[in-house]
Structures are given as structure tokens and as C-alpha cells.
Symmetry: C2
Subunit: 469 residues, 2 copies
């Protein structure tokens, strides 16, 4: 059967685009962090939506599972096949055309395989902004961003990928093409299918194209680093900036002193904006559609008030684009500094913004009680309630040895997250990695509804099996 | 069986809250516009979520359909029962508690029966803004707003009801309580159930509570009326304002000369901002988190540029809150003026914003060809691509007689909408009224997926039957 299927697939996409050679398919089978390598019958590289539909129909006939794959930069093993070797990998990377840009409608129609950075660049060339921005933007594809509802650094102002998408084209698990490529701000004609496919991690169908929202490009952006006594003070600063600056506030990142110490240690050439160490820092970004003077006046007045009210300890405002990039580089180098220090135990959690200070106190204490001396690397998108709360070993414990505690530490952190009304996956999704955690924490009512939807839209279970559910 | 069910229901909600008397239930059976009166076994007025769950479980056992009902202000017969008399009406109006306001998280947890205006007021009392605003806000409930994904006048800046909701509590069609009351900006743990219940018009379950987003209350709002030569000029003005004012632009409503003539005729006491008639008008609103000076400077500079560039013909900026209310009253009185003039044939459509000028030209011409002299009442939320494109009779034809052409005119308008990539229901939903139109225009692929989801979550079909599908 497999051979007959391969012949069918070769007829659909052309023999050159059906990879079966072990060496050729190897790069498609290993996840981004190199933690897992699966197996597959073949890797397919279709050119267009019609080919994707024909592939799904052929696999459906043969009862062969499909693993849709974008830039393979996901962090939860969502886009690599399992070890069974049953599946075919469906790479969308040749569906990489920008189909249309409509400046007056502030939309852009793109295929799933477009690299996020290419979309940003095309928007900029049209004088517009596509605001989705995240570390993997040079490699990740919009199809993957949509399938995982990616977050990033601009969610505070512009929302998650979900909020940036107006329409989808999807190949359903039945091998049919659903043309939902609508560029509409208001459309109430039935169930929210677009929303259902977004964040479904390829388990309900294959996203092949999307209509994305564009925004007018800001005239100016301004970045500041603010020294703070505690997460509670960070929360107060966030509230102050939101009240005064409204939608001008486009970024608000929290970093603990330990984060910047790690960065300073491993990247000594990066800037050190303050002469002394402070307990916490907020990286703040304002974007103005008016002028750099406007942004500057607004930020300086707001930070002046924060210093005067005792909300902030100190602040530096970047005086140039160069300086702003330097401040952002501190934030971006936290994951790199962690990697340089050795593996730690990572969490991608979210909480009600108001609960973050209490969560940190609670989780820090619970971890210290269980693993004295362990070192939380606390940073993240505070404005969205999203923390990357990663746990490094005590100074006298090796990183590899400490990893043995991963399950126990996950339990402590995720229990605390649940206690404070949070989520165990803020922006990375579930994939295969967090499937058991999801089953542990989600209510049976919710899991039952998810299973019912999966069974309704993919009754044979061929779409990305073993992910999410 | 019915009697046994009524006994069970009385035991759940108390006899006083099971209405069966014809006179008592009559107000719950007729739609807002008075076009249809259905029948029902009883009207239930539960007090809390547990009672709602028990009601659904009892009706499920008895295979008795349920029609959830909020403020009954919907325009598509979504919340009234059909003529069969089989259903019970489940009014959520006693679930009207504001459960919590969390200013630091910018969220508010409310029950489904809360009146929208009460939610706005509670937010304002906490120094915050709940931006959803629409004509029925004094009567409609948030449960209804969520179930229809209501739009309104602030969508341009804040999005539809969907974008204003972070979490839901739902009684499923199985009579179980799903606690999805999460107040999180980022949460990627499985399928978008929240999104699925929003806009489902009570056909998949009963929304009993929600976590809503709040925004800092703006410091100042500024309103202007701009005279324009054509919808194309309105589009240019929108682009100019978006580029210069960014998120400060919170409203952009289009009105044709005929709309304001109708208003002037039926409400002669309302302001007449211009001494002469212009072909089109845009009502523009800016909201600033900074100051009224900021809003004023921004708007005056932008309108100055629009006048200089030939985008605008004339403009008046409201010099006081009173004047601003007067300008908004012109917009708000369009539906009232239409009602005073006599019934017309209404449409609630959306289009890609960029296609609106061409759509109007095309649809106007098609209608004139078929019904010479008919008078389009063209107004709406241009910033969202949402037009209320209502067709009044030629001057020499009676309003009632003209209504006989409703199906033919709907077909012309909705065909044009489809041609230009639009939607036949922008913000009102489908209900029972547009069910046939939906079946006519939606693709079989999409309808099949909708039916599969309905069958998966409500296998016995007891939730609001005959609506949407």
C-alpha cells in the first residue's frame, strides 16, 4: 500500500518533491532544539493548495497520517513526526508567495510557507507594519505562527497571531479546500472556523494561506530600560504607562537581575546601562504615529512621574536607534545566555497580569523548599502576563544532573500556575511535549469538547496525530 | 412527559421562575422589531450557573429544545422560539452579577445577563473603559453580545465583542459547566473553544459568564464631521487619519447626504453643521490618553491636511462635549428617521474596506436597473467595512408595497456583496432570519464543517434549533 501511495504522491507533486532518502529527509525529522528525532515514510514538498488537497485526499484513502510542517522552529515537538515511521511530513515551505497586498484594506494575503521576516519586509515596503515579531522570525513560517497562535514581543499592543488574521485558506482533513480568505473586520456568518484552525497545531487541517492585518507603520519608536525594586513595582509601572500612553505603549518586558547577570557574564560586550545592579528591570517601548518628539515627550513625562512616585528606581531612555537596539539585545540575549550557561528547565506560562507578583513569590518559595538554591531565570512579556520562568540549578549542581528533576519542577510550577488562574502554555502551544501536562491540568469537560471537535473534523485521525490530544 | 419536565424545572429554579401563563410569557416570544412571535412551553428564569446546568440536563433528558435569551434586542430572530411551541425559553436576565473587577489585569468578570450599559458604568466607576458600544446598550445583555459577536461603533479601535473577551463560562449542550473564565492575554492550550461559543448564537451551549477586557479610560475624546465628495474620498480620509493618528482614531462612520436629509426632515431640532448639502459625510472620533489639547492638535492638523489635499470638502470639529453629542446624534438618528419614514429593506453587510466605493457604485447601479428610483440609505462603520445599506422605495411607491421586493433586493445586494468579497451579516448574526441566505451563499465545505461541529457538541440538537443552520 505504501508503495502505491508513494506513486500517487509522486504524480501529485512531481518525483523531485517526494523525498524518501534518509539523508534528504533527516533535516525534517528533528525538532528545533534537537531533543527529538522522529521517522517518516516521506517528506512532501507541494507547490500549491491544490497539491496539498490532493495529498491529503490520497493519505486519507490510505489511512496514512500527515504531519504539517512550517519552519520547524516550534518548541513543543508539534511539527515533527513520532517514532513510528507511519506518517508523511508535509512541508509547506514551497507555498511561499505573497498573493496580494491591499493597503487601503490594511491586509495582505500570504501563503503558509512565507517566512515571517519576509512578510514583515513586504509590509514595510508597502509603508505598513505587520507587527508579529519573535525570535525565530528569520526561519519560522506564517503557517506555523498561525497553527501555534504565536505571541512574541508586540502582543501588548497588537495581540497574538490570532488577532492579526482575518481569513484562512485550509485544506480540511477530508482533503477539501475551504476558502475562508476573507479580508473583513466584521463577519458574523456562522461558527468561528478561522479561530478553530488557528492554534490547532495542524491537528484539524492544513492552513495553506491567510489574510493578515496590517497597521500603519509608526513614525517613531522609543525604548527605555527602567530599574525596579520588585515585580509589584513593574506592575505599577505598567499600569502607569498604560493609563498615560494608551496604545502608544507597544512593549513591556520584565527581566530579573539574575537574567542580566547571566547576559553580562556570557556576553560582556553588550551594554550595561546602569552602574549598579537593581532587583528587576522593565524594557519599555513606545511607538508613535505622530513623531519622535511626541514619543519622547510622552515617555519622559511618564517616567518622570514613575520616578517621582517611587514606582521606578532609575531609568535610561535610548538616545538613538543604536542604543535602542542595544537595550533590546539585552532582552534577546537572555535565552542565549541561558544556553551558554547550560540547560535549564523551561516554562512558558501566563497569568492574570495582576497575579504575577504573588505567583513569583509563591513559586519561588515552593521551588526553594523543594530544591534549595535553585535559580529562577524570570523574564517575559509582563504586559501580556507571559513569563518564561526557567529554573537553573543551584551553583553547586551540574546542569545535566539537575534536568533529572524536570518532572517534579514542572509539577511545582504548573501547580502554582493553576492556583493563580494561569496557563501552562502561553505562546508555544502543546505539541507532543506538553500533551501529558495538558491532560493533567485541563478539565474533563474541556478535553471532551476538544476530542469531540477533533473527531468531527478529522474522524480518521490522520492530521498530526499525537499532538495536543 | 412535558408535565413531569415542568415539575423538574420548578424544583430547579423555584415555581415563581417557571412562567407558563400566556400573558406572562408573551413578552419573551416576540422579536425586537415585532416581526415574529413564536411559542414556547415555558419561560425559565434561573438565578445562577448551577441552575442553568440543571435545566439543560433536564431538557436533554426530555429531548426538549432550549432557546437561550438575553435582552432580546437581536435583529435576526436569534433569541425567540419558533412557532412549534416545543421549546422552553431560557432567559439569562437574573444572572446579572458583576463578579469581579481586576483593574491591574484590566479585566472584569460578569454574568451573561448583565446589561451592557451596566457593564460600561461599572468599568467607568473603576476608572476604566469597556469599549463595546451599540444602539441597544441600555437593553442588550453581554451574553447576547457575546453570542452574536456584536460590533458597534468602537470596533475600528477595540474590535468586536470577540476581541473584548478573554474567557467564558458555558453550560454545554450536555448540561455540564465548562469553566473557561480565564483572564489571560496569552493561552495556547488546545482548541479555541471560547471563540467557538462566541458568535454561535446559543446553538452550541449557553454562555453564563465572561471575563471581559478593560482599557484605561481616555482623557479626552474629540468628534468632527467631515464633508466629502464620495465614498472614495471617505476611504482616502480614513487612510490619512489612520496613518497620522494611529490608535487614537476610535470612530469613523460614513453617512450619505440622503441619510442626513432623512434625519433633518424627521428630526428638525437636531444640529445642521453645514450650511449646504454635501454628497457624503464622515463622523470621526479621536480619543487620547494624553489630553484634550493632544487630541485637538492631532485632529486639526490631520483635517487641515485633508482639506489641503482635496480629500475633504469641509469639516467642523465639536467645540464642546455638547456639540460632540449633537454630531453623534445625527448618526444615531438615521435608523430612527428611517423608521419614521416607513419600513425599508435592510442589510447588514461588510466588505474589504478598499472595495466599498466600487461596491456602492455597482450595487446602486444594479438596484436602479431593477427598481428605478429606489433610494439607498447608505451609512455605517466605514472603518470596519461595515455598511447598513438599506433600500427605501422610490418617492412614488409606498413603503409597504415596496417590501414585496425584499427577496429580489436581498439577492441583488447579497450577490454584489459576494462579488466584492464581503459578508451578508457583518454584526447582526444569522439567527432564523438569514438562515436561508447563509445556506445560499456559504460554501458546502464550510457548511459541512459547521454541521459537523454542531453535531459534535450538541448531538441531540436541543440548543436553539433552527438558528444559523
Amino acid at each position: 500500500m505504501a508503495d502505491a501511495l508513494l506513486e500517487t504522491l509522486r504524480a501529485i507533486v512531481g518525483p523531485a518533491h517526494v523525498l524518501v532518502d534518509e539523508g534528504e529527509i533527516a533535516p525534517f525529522l528533528t525538532d528545533w532544539r534537537g531533543r527529538f528525532t522522529g521517522r517518516a515514510r516521506a517528506v512532501l514538498l507541494p507547490l500549491d493548495t491544490a497539491q496539498v488537497a490532493a495529498i491529503v485526499a490520497a493519505c486519507l484513502d490510505a489511512h496514512v497520517p500527515i504531519v504539517p510542517q512550517g519552519g520547524r522552529t516550534g518548541l513543543v515537538l508539534g511539527s515533527v513526526p513520532d517514532a513510528s515511521g507511519n506518517a508523511i511530513v508535509l512541508s509547506l515551505r514551497r507555498l511561499n508567495r505573497i498573493r496580494a497586498i491591499d493597503v487601503a484594506n490594511r491586509t495582505m494575503t500570504v501563503e503558509a510557507g512565507c517566512i515571517l521576516a519576509a512578510i514583515q519586509a513586504a509590509a514595510a515596503q508597502a509603508g505598513m507594519l505587520f507587527p508579529l515579531s519573535l525570535a525565530a522570525e528569520g526561519s519560522c513560517t506564517i503557517g506555523g505562527n498561525l497553527s501555534t497562535n504565536a505571541g512574541g514581543t508586540a502582543v501588548l499592543r497588537y495581540g497574538n497571531t490570532r488577532e492579526l488574521c482575518l481569513g484562512l485558506e485550509v485544506v480540511t482533513a477530508q482533503g477539501q479546500v475551504w476558502d475562508g480568505l476573507r479580508g473583513l473586520r466584521k463577519d458574523n456568518t456562522g461558527y468561528a472556523l478561522r479561530e478553530l484552525f488557528i492554534g490547532a497545531e495542524g491537528t484539524l487541517g492544513v492552513i495553506t494561506a491567510a489574510v493578515l492585518k496590517l497597521y500603519p507603520a509608526p513614525q517613531a519608536a522609543l525604548t527605555a530600560l527602567v530599574a525596579l525594586e520588585s515585580p509589584r513595582h513593574a506592575l505599577a509601572l505598567l499600569g502607569l504607562l498604560q493609563a498615560r500612553c494608551g496604545a502608544t505603549l507597544t512593549g513591556f518586558e520584565l527581566m530579573s537581575a539574575f537574567c542580566l547577570q547571566l547576559v553580562a557574564h556570557h556576553f560582556p560586550d553588550l551594554p550595561r546601562p546602569f552602574s549598579r545592579t537593581h532587583p528587576h528591570y522593565a524594557l519599555v517601548e513606545l511607538s508613535s504615529n505622530e513623531s519622535s518628539q511626541h514619543a519622547q515627550g510622552l515617555l519622559e513625562t511618564a517616567l518622570g512621574a514613575a520616578l517621582e512616585d517611587g514606582v521606578a528606581l532609575d531609568a535610561v531612555v535610548a538616545a538613538s536607534v543604536q542604543q535602542a537596539l542595544g537595550l533590546w539585545r539585552l532582552r534577546e540575549h537572555i535565552p542565549l545566555a541561558q544556553a551558554a550557561a547550560g540547560k535549564n528547565i523551561k516554562h512558558d506560562i501566563s497569568l492574570p497580569v495582576s497575579r504575577i507578583p504573588d505567583f513569583i513569590l509563591h513559586a519561588d518559595a515552593a521551588l526553594q523548599a523543594a530544591f534549595p538554591g535553585c535559580q529562577p531565570v524570570t523574564f517575559g512579556h509582563l504586559g501580556d502576563g507571559n513569563l518564561h520562568y526557567n529554573i537553573a540549578p543551584p551553583v553547586d549542581v551540574g546542569h545535566e544532573a539537575f534536568l533529572a528533576n524536570q518532572a517534579a519542577i514542572n509539577r511545582i510550577v504548573h501547580d502554582a500556575v493553576t492556583l493563580f488562574g494561569g496557563s501552562i502554555s502561553a505562546e508555544h502551544g502543546i505539541g507532543a511535549l506538553k500533551r501529558d501536562e495538558l491532560a493533567h491540568y485541563k478539565s474533563p469537560v474541556e478535553l471532551d469538547m476538544m476530542r469531540a471537535i477533533k473527531a468531527a473534523l478529522d474522524p480518521l485521525g490522520i492530521m498530526n496525530p499525537g499532538k495536543i490530544l
